[in-house]
């Protein structure tokens, strides 16, 4: 026999501060190395850049100390490190632009977006005292989410870039509303499933060892499937459509623990993908570029060829095991090396060793989200944390899988790294929500005050002994 005592979470956040120093060091060192290796001198704004990053990181740390003292200590440093490494790579791509008259300034803008994103995360942490408040807005979140998804279709507001109509032009900036829609939809799915999970989980007949839901309970999954197909057809964006459908299936599985949902989801997805590949030329071209990437015709085909993919693969091959070093490779030969193909750029300059470290960091981030989901006591928080962690992990899988030619290339962004304001803001909000939920997951439970014993008198001693005796367990 053994005694089981719950692990006590110590309230201090010293561990986070230590890891944060390392994380900031990673970002700043990468930035400095890019300058040293490419121009022979430290970047001109290295001190301002370092001060800004340190101020943002320490600011978030202080907000956590004040507003979420029990929040997970690993999430923030990992996010800061990934953000810093991404910034350094974007700066490196900026430096290698051929056109010196009009150098790209992606890094400066991305730094601005980082600042806005971290401040937004701090605002979420301060404003949202309890994640359960969000459950009240379940259906509001649905409306907001669907509205955001459909926003690019509004004439005059949405713009088509590279064939995909997923952008909204607002005040000179182009935003990708689908990035925010995924958070709203995660809130909606969590609120909806926590109410309806019993019908979805318990009713139904058993076939081949799997319990299948009743036909009339299939409604929601069909609706979401149709909606994500509609996104694919109307906005021509494979990635977003895949992300929404994957998120819903994953959260259904989390809520019901029934493998049949994954089975059905896969079946529906494969059907939809086959249909789309047959019907739409741009999806078919993606499949062709994936399967026959090294064909000369496919390689040279533009647009929709495999040139970008194959150049990325050769870049990573050039990096080898230990990489070329910051600023020593030629990742800029790949189109969109700062956004869609930032993983290939990092693979070239940091090698397999560095890329694996980055992937482990994403793994840690997703694990912390899932651990939070296990630890939190309310069903809504469990589903929301699990769903958000899944979104981060799924995006990584789709992007890295696409870049390494494991699956067809889709237009998702690597969280925190890829160039893009919307993606960065949305991911910092996800981090803030995970931190908020983990605070309530790790907060010690309030003391149970059910039975108050009177102070023991001499006559009561024997009863007290009895009570202490009952607590013991035989060996």
């Amino acid at each position: 026999m053994a005694t089981v005592t719950p692990h006590r979470v110590r309230p201090g956040r010293g561990v986070e501060l230590g890891l944060l120093v390392l994380a900031l060091g990673l970002g700043v060192a990468a930035y400095a190395l890019v300058g040293l290796n490419m121009t022979g001198a430290l970047p001109a704004n290295i001190y301002g850049y370092s001060a800004g990053m340190v101020a943002l990181g320490v600011g978030m740390h202080l907000v956590l100390r004040l507003r979420a003292p029990y929040a997970d200590q690993v999430i923030l440093p990992v996010a800061v490190a990934l953000n810093g490494i991404g910034l350094a790579m974007i700066y490196r791509i900026d430096l290698s632009t051929v056109d010196w008259e009009h150098p790209t300034t992606f890094a400066t803008r991305q730094l601005g977006w980082t600042a806005i994103g971290m401040i937004l995360a701090a605002v979420v942490l301060v404003a949202l005292r309890d994640h359960r408040t969000l459950r009240r807005y379940t259906y509001t979140a649905m409306v907001v989410g669907l509205g955001l998804v459909l926003l690019p279709l509004v004439p005059g507001l949405g713009t088509t870039i590279n064939g995909a109509r997923i952008w909204v032009r607002l005040g000179g900036q182009s935003l990708q509303p689908a990035e925010f829609a995924k958070i709203a939809l995660a809130i909606f799915f969590a609120g909806y499933l926590v109410t309806n999970r019993d019908t979805l989980a318990l009713a139904g007949s058993k076939v081949l060892g799997m319990q299948f839901p009743r036909v009339r309970d299939l409604g929601p999954i069909i609706v979401v499937w149709a909606a994500s197909l509609a996104v694919l057809v109307l906005e021509r964006d494979l990635g977003t459509s895949l992300l929404f459908f994957g998120l819903f299936v994953a959260m259904l599985y989390l809520a019901t623990e029934r493998k049949s949902w994954i089975f059905l989801g896969m079946l529906l997805f494969l059907g939809g993908a086959a249909l789309a590949a047959q019907t739409f030329s741009h999806v078919g071209a993606r499949f062709d570029a994936w399967l026959n990437a090294f064909d000369n015709d496919v390689f040279n085909q533009s647009p929709g060829g495999s040139g970008q993919l194959v150049r990325g693969l050769y870049g990573m091959a050039n990096g080898g095991l230990f990489g070329t070093g910051w600023g020593e490779g030629r990742p800029d030969l790949v189109p969109y090396a700062e956004s869609d193909f930032i993983v290939a750029s990092l693979g070239e300059e940091l090698g397999l060793t560095g890329l694996l470290a980055i992937l482990v960091a994403y793994l840690v981030l997703a694990e912390r989200g899932l651990r939070t989901a296990i630890g939190v006591r309310d069903g809504f928080g469990k589903l929301l944390a699990g769903g958000l962690a899944f979104v981060v992990a799924f995006q990584c899988f789709v992007v890295v899988g696409g870049v390494t030619r494991l699956i067809p290339l889709t237009g998702l962004t690597m969280p925190f790294m890829a160039y893009g304001g919307s993606s960065l803001l949305a991911n910092w909000v996800i981090v803030a929500l995970l931190l908020r939920i983990s605070d309530s997951a790790r907060r010690p439970a309030p003391l149970v005050t059910g039975f108050v014993a009177p102070p023991p008198t001499a006559a009561d001693r024997q009863d007290t002994q009895m009570l202490t005796g009952l607590g013991e367990v035989r060996e």
Binding site: A2, V4, G40, F322, W326, A459, M466, T468, G469, V473
Partner: protein, 165 residues
Amino acid sequence: MSELAITLLRLGYLVLLWVFVLSTIGVLRRDLYGTKITARGGPAKKGRTPTPAGGTAALAPPTPARRDAAPTRLVVTEGPLRGTTLPLTTSAILIGRAPSCTLVLDDDYSSSRHARIFPQGTGWFVEDLGSTNGTFLDTTKVERPTPIPPGAHVRIGQSVVELQR
């Protein structure tokens, strides 16, 4: 910069990257488990010794000799409370259904004040307190205060208790 410096910085950065990743994993390792499980080993903890109430000072309970053979706890080995242990101190243990008993049995076959186990001299005795169904020491019915030999089973209703070292 020299080729050597570039190579060292390149590898140094990778080391830093892995130091960060491994230290986050180090934090996880400590934090991953929600519960701590400690095996119960060694001697059982001694219960608190009650101080005798003021008026009973004259009837100071006899202290059982603390030999190695002296039992230190009472263990319920059968019945609904199986696994329960009580520390044996210098005071008597009252067993029955009444809430005032030391060991409260939730058992229809026991009486409200069923039996008493008390120390006297060097050993422990069991005494039946006029129960309906009787108290049994192994197989013999307890009629008068009887010493409990080591390893003997005392049956009270559906429960069996035992004295252990």
